[in-house]
Symmetry: C2
Subunit: 596 residues, 2 copies
Amino acid sequence: MPSYKAPIRDMKFILHEMLNISDLAKYDQFSELDTDLVDAILEEGSKFTEEVLTPLNIVGDHEGCKRHADGSVTTPTGFRDAYKTLVENGWTSITRDPNYGGQGLPGLMGIPVGEMQTSANMAFSMYPGLTGGAIKAISVGGSDDQKQTFLPKMISGEWCGTMNLTEPHCGTDLGLLKTKAVKQSDGSYKITGQKIFISAGEHDMTDNIIHLVLARTEDAPAGVKGISLFIVPKFILDDNENPGERNEVSCGALEEKMGIHGNSTCVMNFDGATGYMIGEENKGLKVMFVMMNEARIGVGMQGLGQSEVAYQNAVLYARDRLQGRSLTGPKNENGPADPIIVHPDVRRMLMETRAFNEAGRALLYWAAKQEDIERHSSDEKEVERADDILGLLTPVVKGYLTDKAMASTIDCQQVFGGHGFIEEWGMSQFVRDCRITLIYEGANGIQALDLVGRKLGRNGGRALMTLNSEIDAFVAEHEGNEELADFMKELKTAKGKLTEGTMWLMQNGMTNPDNAGAGSVDYMHMLGLTVFAYLWARMAVVSQKAINDGSNEDFYTNKLITGRYFIARMLPMVDAHLAKIKTGAAPVMALSAEAF
Amino acid sequence: MPSYKAPIRDMKFILHEMLNISDLAKYDQFSELDTDLVDAILEEGSKFTEEVLTPLNIVGDHEGCKRHADGSVTTPTGFRDAYKTLVENGWTSITRDPNYGGQGLPGLMGIPVGEMQTSANMAFSMYPGLTGGAIKAISVGGSDDQKQTFLPKMISGEWCGTMNLTEPHCGTDLGLLKTKAVKQSDGSYKITGQKIFISAGEHDMTDNIIHLVLARTEDAPAGVKGISLFIVPKFILDDNENPGERNEVSCGALEEKMGIHGNSTCVMNFDGATGYMIGEENKGLKVMFVMMNEARIGVGMQGLGQSEVAYQNAVLYARDRLQGRSLTGPKNENGPADPIIVHPDVRRMLMETRAFNEAGRALLYWAAKQEDIERHSSDEKEVERADDILGLLTPVVKGYLTDKAMASTIDCQQVFGGHGFIEEWGMSQFVRDCRITLIYEGANGIQALDLVGRKLGRNGGRALMTLNSEIDAFVAEHEGNEELADFMKELKTAKGKLTEGTMWLMQNGMTNPDNAGAGSVDYMHMLGLTVFAYLWARMAVVSQKAINDGSNEDFYTNKLITGRYFIARMLPMVDAHLAKIKTGAAPVMALSAEAF
């Protein structure tokens, strides 16, 4: 059975040594934040995820969820109990608003905790994860009454939440959605329609499930301008705000999926279900998009989480499995063969994943910190800067991290040879679970379009300029450091090429938008690589300083080695992406649609 | 349910117009080969695979195989009948030796037929596929008696065959294998041991199963020099050579796998089973490797087959699914949205797969033709040349084609968005089935090592020189052709870079073999890309000539468009691979094994 150890040392490195999470204590809400608190949370989080969630991962995959004739859904053995423990230990509320019972920690703290949960058991982690999205939507768009009614029990974990967007004929293009909302005399609505791919849509973990549902009111304008957002509880609340009468919403079927079997992915039927509008009529997508940006960071986290746990298991296997001899002579002379970790190509796959995981973690946490700054700073410039960086990084976190995580989980599975293909070893599950991260919350191609078509150009390209000046200032500060000259040089080169790609897209996307579309995924990867180069350089600075200050912890030396692997073996991909971008739309669009 | 149409037009293009399959008629055995015969086989093959095998693909995935308490195994609904039809229609014998009931067609003809079967139903196609491997081993190493006894019924399909190599503690490193063979007074052996991952190890399709088993005789030398090969029939033949007494070989368990559920992957227990040695004692691996080289070509074919069928379904979905509007203005003005094939990033994924499939098919068929030449030509030079090219191409066909096929099936699944993740649509199955092709018959890292460590250096590098002169001669012939100047120029450039990579590996692999190991997979991809550039240029020459000769078939124009996509958007990867190769072992091996 696969194992998992939370990478606490690396998490601490990023949170404390690189990002200085305690900076956030300057905001009133986080005044109690200190290193000990952060570390205690990481330690407790690791225990819960290693001991409770990890053993259930393969159980969830194997058993899946079961829908019964009455539409009820049973989660896999152990999931209910684990959810109870999750709630009792307060994990659902750590970053939530204290006004509604939350513990008020920075959103950034939710990321390592979430990473651990998703590494340990991605399917399980989606039940509280989706609730988080629903909490966010109600927090952003709900009335005070709605917040008072729903948030405390969702934050405590007593109730779960869901997001109901997709319909059979539309996912990406929400303007096409058909679910109807008819206003009732009491101000509520009757919601009718079918939603598909609803994660955690029905289950046995909580007394109520709070569905957030996109629908059209009568006479709403067509397209995206006619979509409103509704709260539809599984059980309508009685006068004491306890779950009462069963609402007309039910799970019509469970989808059979490639992965995340432990999560119930439901077809949800709304048959005149009672719903309450959130925010203004026809402005539902606005609320949804606020929520979705956060969800996209969460999906990037899921990708990283799968890549991390796949890496850990591949390392254990590569150390354990004896097969063949090192090309440079036996390394395990008394054994029948050498452990396969001696083979360069096995190393390559492990280093590739390791260098990705460590930079991916840095990117994810760095992005998450921007959100805390944006929400809590009173310095307008600082807020604008954080918002710019976060907006620019969000598609990269979602799209680039998950694309690369997929490749990493496949590489780690490959380390196992034939055993990687056998379900018992668990490597297939990491690949299959990871696969959805490239799709949901906006397929990665949509992330790339969001980046190139929206984020790059917004405010005259301010976001990228902000990032560029940050990188320039960093390079200027450290360029004289001979020990790290390679990191600075390669970062500058990558940034130059990114600029070249950006200019090309700007100039040629004007004349033909397909030029931008055809290069968008390559550009997203190029930006991802450049940001990684920046983060690796930052991590190198911290590590080199620790060494120079006398630390003899191997961690720092290993960090530099891993960073140098990134520079040597992964960063060269920037050129290939640039070359592809500059070919433009012509080769991509030349074949007529009928000729395929 | 996913569909499949055999790509007969493209198959004919490659077989007739590019490779001139009728050349092979100059060899006595193939004197009856002509265009009509080839085309008739393609047509019949397409009917059988489209009508019989395709509908069973998802059935096989869903039901899987079932092992019963007595060790017997039932294949999925419909598989037995389909196998019966396969045999009745003569598909198992088309390329086999007429001396044993085969139809004696060139091995090359087995490739399009096999491609169709594997596209339609990979799990099913493995039952006759593995039999093919066993036939080959007996043909190469067996005594006349053994051939007479076993080949006719295996060739007719009356009996199936298997290959038993892997044991729980060894797969790649066969020198470690432990299965014992004890000689009996009658010259037969008693085989005892456990084999795992045995495809088609037990099933209900045939009256007998002929297992080929690697084992060690008593007092055999340790390691690879002490391995012999044995025939172990499921039922020992009686005096009339009919299946008689049950042999002591049985299926102990079925593996639960990521994919190819319709094929029974067995743990096989040999408990003093009666076996007959093939060829000489301790020379079993030699026979096995002859067989395995052919099997590797077959695995490359499986990868291509999955990529092709995934592509076809992605195209249908991309034409059908309405979502969003083209960046350059509506293309389906009267509809609620445009089909997603208008979006450049959807096109990118389709073109990427198409350009891969067409070149992959050309590579596969070209390689297969070399084997026919090698086996049937009496011209020593021609044989040597064919053997060199085939040896060099085999790891590329196996490793590069399957690596790329995996990426392609994932891209095609991505086109489906959320529906791609749902099993009902079948795209997940293509990805899951394809996944094994990167692993079995030598994991792709092993292919790369075979290429760099063995094939490149053999006979003073003669094979690569042979390939290079073929390319040089081709370029010299067509360099003056202005219409195709881009193809020739890019081919020359890629070949130059390949040479640079080769030189680097030669020079630096001497001082440290890990330098070669660390760059081996990148080199395999680089060679794959360069060979693709060559094959695309050849296909371009044929297509341009057809156009210039007055053909108005769109096929040729589309071929040129697809080739130019390859040049513009795929070939640039050569630079990234070269850059990675030239970093050598240092970044890959720097981290100590304990530090991972």
